[in-house]
């Protein structure tokens, strides 16, 4: 599956540097896949806590951790969620731990090692502005 890097508008005109973004659908929120920044430096996969109730996920009583992200102290609550990525021809779903964070300063979710990168072989071609992901067959067989 190939995802073109995504451009965002710059306040001063033009566009910001395109970023590697993957659209990940949560079970229960298939109509609006959440854009997630591919973050190879992040251990977890994290999203805004605002997203959870929209997917029918209740965070009460789930394990939580405090941490800093982007210089902001936040609290993440853990939930296991079925995630799906879709392209024109393929679809892949997997069960993953996602940390729903409040507050969440970022416009996207963060797709990190646990929850995303562990499930795929990822190729980043920044020169041409795209990334490709292929499900890791070893993970599927595990």
């Amino acid at each position: 599956m190939r995802f073109a890097f995504r451009e965002m508008p710059s306040a001063s005109g033009g566009a910001l540097t395109p970023r590697p973004i993957v659209d990940i659908a949560l079970e229960g929120l298939e109509v609006a896949p959440v854009a997630c920044l591919l973050d190879t430096g992040a251990l977890r996969t994290r999203m805004s806590a605002e997203i959870a109730p929209l997917a029918g996920i209740e965070l009460t009583g789930d394990p939580a951790e405090e941490f800093y992200v982007g210089g902001v102290k936040t609290v993440g609550a853990l939930a296991r969620v079925t995630l799906t990525v879709t392209s024109d021809t393929d679809e892949f779903s997997w069960d993953a731990p996602v940390w729903f964070c409040d507050p969440w300063p970022h416009p996207f979710g963060l797709a990190g090692l646990e929850g995303f990168l562990h499930h795929f072989v990822v190729t980043i071609n920044a020169y041409d502005g795209y990334l490709e992901i292929e499900p890791d067959s070893r993970h599927q067989d595990a």
Binding site: R6, E7, M8, P9, S10, A11, G13, G14, A15, L16, T17, R19, I21, D23, L29, E30, V31, A32, P33, V34, A35, L37, D39, T40, G41, A42, L43, R44, S48, E50, I51, P53, L54, F67, Y68, V69, G70, P105, H106, P107, F108, L110, G112
Partner: protein, 202 residues
């Protein structure tokens, strides 16, 4: 509908984005221009562009099937707008009547690109897609430019078109569900490099 004496209206209708999308522009309206009186479905209304813009605050554009008008930098179905500002039932007037009424107020109108060749049952929502000031059919714009009017808002996009924009993701999802639409991606539009820097926990 509040009414003013004819001839006392003086206002500047703001057109949020210029043709090249680079800056806001102002469209001048002559001081003393009388408030247009129009008859819709047998009812007389004194409408002016400012009150129309005000009526749309807090509303989200419905999917565009073919015709649209551009108000506050967004595309709106003409019938939705006229129903909101007049309180009339949409069955009481046609799309063309609504479009004509709104263009008389100075709002640009257009037709969504490709609708004529599209199967009626597979229309794509392009409701709030930003438009140039003319509102005429325009070629596809880069996603970054399409997103520019929605900085700070949550958006749902599909095929490089903005389906809907709202202050919170709940508003976006509610709109998608209400109109039976499916997005490719949902996120908040930002305008600085710092806002989209990856952030490994410290």
């Amino acid at each position: 509908m509040p009414s003013k004496e004819q001839g006392e209206i003086a206002f500047l209708a703001e057109v949020l984005y210029s043709r090249d999308g680079s800056e806001s522009t102002l469209r001048r309206v002559a001081i003393g221009e009388p408030m247009p009186t129009m008859t819709v479905s047998g009812h007389q209304f004194n409408l002016e562009s400012r009150s129309v813009e005000t009526s749309l605050q807090g509303e989200l554009p419905e999917p565009i099937h073919e015709h649209f008008v551009v108000i506050n930098g967004r595309r709106w179905p003409p019938k939705q707008v006229l129903a909101l500002v007049t309180g009339l039932d949409r069955a009481d007037f046609t799309t063309h009547q609504a479009r004509r009424a709104l263009t008389r107020l100075g709002f640009p109108a257009g037709r969504a690109a490709g609708t004529r060749a599209r199967h009626p049952g597979t229309s794509r929502a392009v409701a709030p897609r930003p438009s140039n000031a003319s509102g005429a059919d325009d070629p596809a714009v880069p996603l970054a430019e399409a997103l520019r009017p929605f900085i700070g808002l949550w958006v749902a996009v599909r095929d490089d078109e903005v389906l809907v924009a709202a202050p919170a993701p709940a508003g976006v999802v509610a709109w998608l569900a209400k109109h039976g639409q499916r997005a490719q991606s949902m996120f908040r539009v930002v305008d600085s490099e710092q806002a989209i820097t990856g952030a490994a926990p410290q």
